[in-house]
Homo-oligomer: 482 residues x 2
Amino acid sequence: MAEDTREDETILADPLPAEDGAHPDDRVDDERHDEENRLKPDFVRAVRAALEDGDDTAVYDLVEPLHPADIADLLELLERDDRRELAAAITDLMSSEVIAELNDYVREDMMEALPPGAVAAIAEQLETDDAVQLIEDLGPAEQRAVLDALDAEDRAAIESALAYPEETAGRLMSRDFVAVPEHMTVGDLIDFLRDEGNLANDFWEVFVVDHAHHPVGSCALSWILRTPRSVALTDVMKRDQTLIPVTMDQEEVALMFQKYALISAAVVDASGRLVGQMTVDDVVHIISEEAGEDVLLLSGAGDGDINEPIRDAYTARVRWLIANLGTALVASFIIAMFGAAIEEMVALAVLMPIVASIGGNAGTQTMAVTVRAIAINQLTEANTGRILWREMRVALLNGATVAVVLGAATAAIFSPALGAVIAVAMVINVAVAGLAGVLVPVIFERLKQDPAVASSVFVTMITDSMGFFAFLGLAVASGIAG
Amino acid sequence: MAEDTREDETILADPLPAEDGAHPDDRVDDERHDEENRLKPDFVRAVRAALEDGDDTAVYDLVEPLHPADIADLLELLERDDRRELAAAITDLMSSEVIAELNDYVREDMMEALPPGAVAAIAEQLETDDAVQLIEDLGPAEQRAVLDALDAEDRAAIESALAYPEETAGRLMSRDFVAVPEHMTVGDLIDFLRDEGNLANDFWEVFVVDHAHHPVGSCALSWILRTPRSVALTDVMKRDQTLIPVTMDQEEVALMFQKYALISAAVVDASGRLVGQMTVDDVVHIISEEAGEDVLLLSGAGDGDINEPIRDAYTARVRWLIANLGTALVASFIIAMFGAAIEEMVALAVLMPIVASIGGNAGTQTMAVTVRAIAINQLTEANTGRILWREMRVALLNGATVAVVLGAATAAIFSPALGAVIAVAMVINVAVAGLAGVLVPVIFERLKQDPAVASSVFVTMITDSMGFFAFLGLAVASGIAG
């Protein structure tokens, strides 16, 4: 399996040879990065101190050795005012890569401080997809002003991207790709690539197109390099391609790249013409975002970006707190129904939050599993029944275990009758939690809603209400209170 | 910005030309896939029916047109017994790609049903990294039996990978890469690639190494293809590389690939020798897993994989329910302290869960934001203070808003005094929730613990206890009860 070009070295025989002193990696273990490749706090403090002293030369010398992605990280770590000062002190280091790597909110904030001409000058340095990201967040008037300041070709490219809905392939694709006609040989292609000065910066595949510019196949560069010049491209190309429709949602694009292990893929319009390509390095950010956003959505934290303006974070979160207030009132109403029982036996008030809390926790567990399985296309109509049955069995096991522990403790401290009541209530509530934890997200998915957005509120309402109702209701029905 | 090889076509001018009838993509819109590229339930039902009829030819005909990744999806959607029947019916379609794409639990379960010789035969077809995944999940005795059945070269490769800790670059890297000496020209390299029959399947970069096999630079294939044959590799290679230490944790590897937009990277041992490469298509799975696991960990759902055996799901989840029982007892203890007040005024029992519930929700919001920011290296020591202050301001705004609504409603329904008490308790609890939501995960991170694992239990304990304590305590202190 192993491949090595030098026969005298056996890489496999000795995976951990003795240290010979030299350390290979200057990017991980240097004086600016910690062991997790984050900028060290001391380094950030030094930059901050130099900015405060107004010592632009010191600032420049500190920042100059950094990779553009690290300069972006540094800007994000600084306060707002320091960011602008830093950008002013290192103008020639503020490359398009830095801008492209910046957090959306930080970039937007920094761009709003610049005149449209300056934003346009930055946009012209960027790849179309990055320029679109830069411009799409601006207000309509600023957007217009920046577009007007661009040269005609760039403006047309960006406007055509902006014509597609947000978060679709059309917005995200690169218009920078290599497409060649079917009649070429490997040799023709290599000559073409050598002669053509104005090629895409990085490309991993060459697309072969027919007379109508429909992609008919693709050639990985590694195949081209190992094939004799005389071979026709149509003999070496892969015909079975994954084509991305230009209107496809970014989440689906990300899942396609994952599922088929793609490095790049052709983007086609409604008539099947090749209009762009997506490469995996752009998709990687989407994969991370889409996979990470569920935890934020389920908790009701909106975008959950620490760089989001405070007023946006406030409005995103307070909505869910108010919604939660509504559902908590339902639970309170149920408690109020049993007011007489609680007055008679205050132990009920002491114990009732336990039943609700464990139920809520069990519901959250099942809901998280369900939402994640839906997000990665593992849970579909074809296996919903089986997964529901699976989760019910886990819930019954969990409910029984907790019921035994809590029932025994309650029996010892209060009374055996109360222990029995709380144990039965516990099993009921954890079983209901399991049911709700699967069904609520599945129903949202069937209604074409994102299950991560509102499932939490409903599951919590169900487990809280059922927890109080089962416990207090059983206490009254069994005659031990009320 | 746009690049097109045919001057007569202007891709940019017409992003959405009229339909011309042909549909470009057979993989997305066929009779087997729905619009989200999942296998249609009808298709899965047809396969299931054919399996039940024992009609292996029908099964084969149905499955044959599928991509290996879709065959893996199909296996995951079926019940356990059907999986084994399907695998038996389509043996020659069960390629290494299918095995590599399978969910870990499903693969493990299917492998356990096979004799070691059969597992070894499959492992020999796989790339080393996929073979390691296959073998690392087996029990020690089965692992030994499979290793013994492998040929010597493959066994050595897999054993050397297994010598590294789980979830490190050493386990995940491919030993299949192209490395060439410094003295080569572009022409030498192309000739070498054409002549060498036994090359890595797919590669995107060629590594240039010195006499001690230390990587000194890398050449993207697109640079090689556009450079004249006479140019020396050392003149075209990129010297500034991101090297992955062989012991680096997969989460850090994934963050490196994201941060520096890598397609492939050299993996080096402690002495700086090139021992493998990682490519982005392998890293993509890790990115998705690592980003997605926080929602499962925070909810206490363990691995949270719907294919996990029920007993594993049970033990993973019940631990957290029992832990939650412990923290709920703390809250109960606080309620018990105020038993007399509740007996006197049952409205306290009705309202107290609201204060705890909203506090819990606010704490979960802040905690989710904090855990996510830590996971993507956005929250470090350098900006913790600023983020804490930001979250406190959001919490105070949220607390004040909810307090006004809840206070007014309580004043109208019960009494103005109780409304004032619940409003103040609400502000206190949401502020405490904001503080705990940042500090608990940050403290776990400083203690080198994964903040997603146990933060939830502590934050919930704090917000529950503080909710009951603030509300009941203020009610007693203000003299309206107890």
